[in-house]
C-alpha cells in the first residue's frame, strides 16, 4: 500500500481496523506514522472538545424575560398604560375648547369696539 491508500484507510470510518498492509507501511514510513499520530490526536481533541459550561440559577428567568410579547398582550398593555393619558388629554382639550369659545356678549362688545375704531380712523382729522 502507498501513503495515499494508507491515509485514506486510516481516516475511513468504515475501515478503521488496521490491516496487515497498513501496519507494514506504518512500520516503514515515518511520515505516515506521524500522520496516524496526528489523526489520533485530532480525534482526542474532538472527543474532549467541550466548554463545560453550566447554566446559572437565573438562566430560565432570563429566557422568559426575552420571550417576544404577543400582539394581543401588546394591545392590552397599551390600553392599560395609555388610558389615563388619553383621559387627561381629552380633559385638557375640553377645557381649552370651552375657554377659547367666546361668549355672545363679548362678541357683541368686540363688534361695537371695532365699529367705533373704524369710524374714528376713517373720519377726516380724526384718530390718534
Amino acid at each position: 500500500m502507498n501513503c495515499a491508500q494508507v491515509r485514506k484507510r486510516l481516516t475511513d470510518e468504515q475501515a478503521r481496523t488496521p490491516v496487515a498492509g497498513v501496519l507494514e507501511h506504518l512500520g516503514e514510513c515515518p511520515s505516515c506514522t506521524r500522520f496516524a499520530e496526528r489523526l489520533q490526536l485530532a480525534e482526542e481533541v474532538l472527543r474532549d472538545h467541550h466548554s463545560g459550561t453550566e447554566p446559572d440559577a437565573g438562566f430560565a428567568s432570563r429566557v422568559v424575560a426575552a420571550l417576544p410579547t404577543s400582539s394581543s398582550d401588546l394591545l392590552g398593555w397599551a390600553a392599560i398604560r395609555l388610558l389615563p393619558a388619553t383621559l387627561a388629554l381629552a380633559l385638557v382639550l375640553t377645557v381649552w375648547a370651552l375657554a377659547a369659545t367666546p361668549s355672545p356678549t363679548s362678541l357683541l362688545e368686540q363688534s361695537v369696539n371695532e365699529d367705533l375704531w373704524s369710524w374714528i380712523l376713517s373720519s377726516p382729522g380724526g384718530g390718534p
Partner: protein, 186 residues
C-alpha cells in the same frame, strides 16, 4: 408512566413523569410563561451540554441555549408528541448550533482557557486544535457529533432529521478535509 429523559451518553439518567411534562407543554402552548420557565429549568443542563460541544466561550453557549429555548417557545405548536420532547429539543438545539457555526465561519481566536493550557499541553495538540478550527463549519459540526457525542451516522440522521445518505456524504467530506489538513501540516 415514566420516560427516561437521558438520550445522550454522558448525561445522568433523569426519570420524569411523562404526564407532568405533557402538562407543562400544554400550558406553554396556552402562553403560560411560568410553565415555560419550569420547562426551561428542566432541560437547560442538557441544552448547555450540547451547545458546549460546539462553542467554548460561556457567552456563546448561553446565547445558543437561549436561542434554542426561544425557538422552542415560538415553534412549540409544531411539536408532535409522537417522539419524546427531548428528541425534538435536541434537534432544535443542534439546528441553532449549526446555524451559528455557519454564520461564524471566521477562525476562532484562542480562548483564555486554551492559552492557560498552552503552557502545559504539548505543541502537537495545540497545532491540531488550530487545524480543527480551520475546518469549515459543516465539517467540524459532523466530526464533533461523531467523535464528541459518539453518534453513528444513523443517530445523527435521526436526531437532525437529515437522510442517512446526506450524513454519510457530509461525514466523508469532513474526514477527507481533515485528512488533507493533517497531510499538509506534515
Amino acid at each position: 408512566m415514566e420516560i427516561a429523559l437521558s438520550v445522550t451518553p454522558g448525561l445522568e439518567s433523569v426519570r420524569e413523569p411523562a404526564g407532568e411534562e405533557a402538562c407543562l407543554i400544554a400550558a406553554c402552548r396556552r402562553g403560560d410563561e411560568e410553565a415555560f420557565s419550569r420547562l426551561v429549568h428542566r432541560h437547560e443542563r442538557r441544552v448547555f451540554r450540547l451547545a458546549g460541544r460546539f462553542f467554548r466561550q460561556r457567552e456563546e453557549v448561553e446565547d445558543v441555549a437561549q436561542q434554542t429555548f426561544l425557538t422552542v417557545w415560538q415553534k412549540l405548536e409544531t411539536y408532535r408528541a409522537k417522539a419524546p420532547f427531548e428528541h425534538w429539543l435536541t434537534r432544535v438545539c443542534l439546528n441553532c448550533c449549526y446555524e451559528r457555526l455557519r454564520k461564524r465561519e471566521a477562525p476562532v481566536e484562542p480562548l483564555e482557557h486554551d492559552q492557560a493550557v498552552a503552557t502545559s499541553e504539548p505543541t502537537a495538540r495545540l497545532e491540531v486544535e488550530r487545524l480543527l478550527r480551520t475546518l469549515p463549519a459543516a465539517d467540524r459540526f459532523v466530526l464533533l457529533l461523531m467523535h464528541g457525542e459518539g453518534w453513528s451516522t444513523a443517530e445523527i440522521a435521526q436526531r437532525l432529521g437529515w437522510s442517512r445518505a446526506n450524513v454519510k456524504v457530509r461525514a466523508h467530506r469532513a474526514r477527507k478535509k481533515l485528512r488533507q489538513l493533517l497531510a499538509e501540516e506534515l
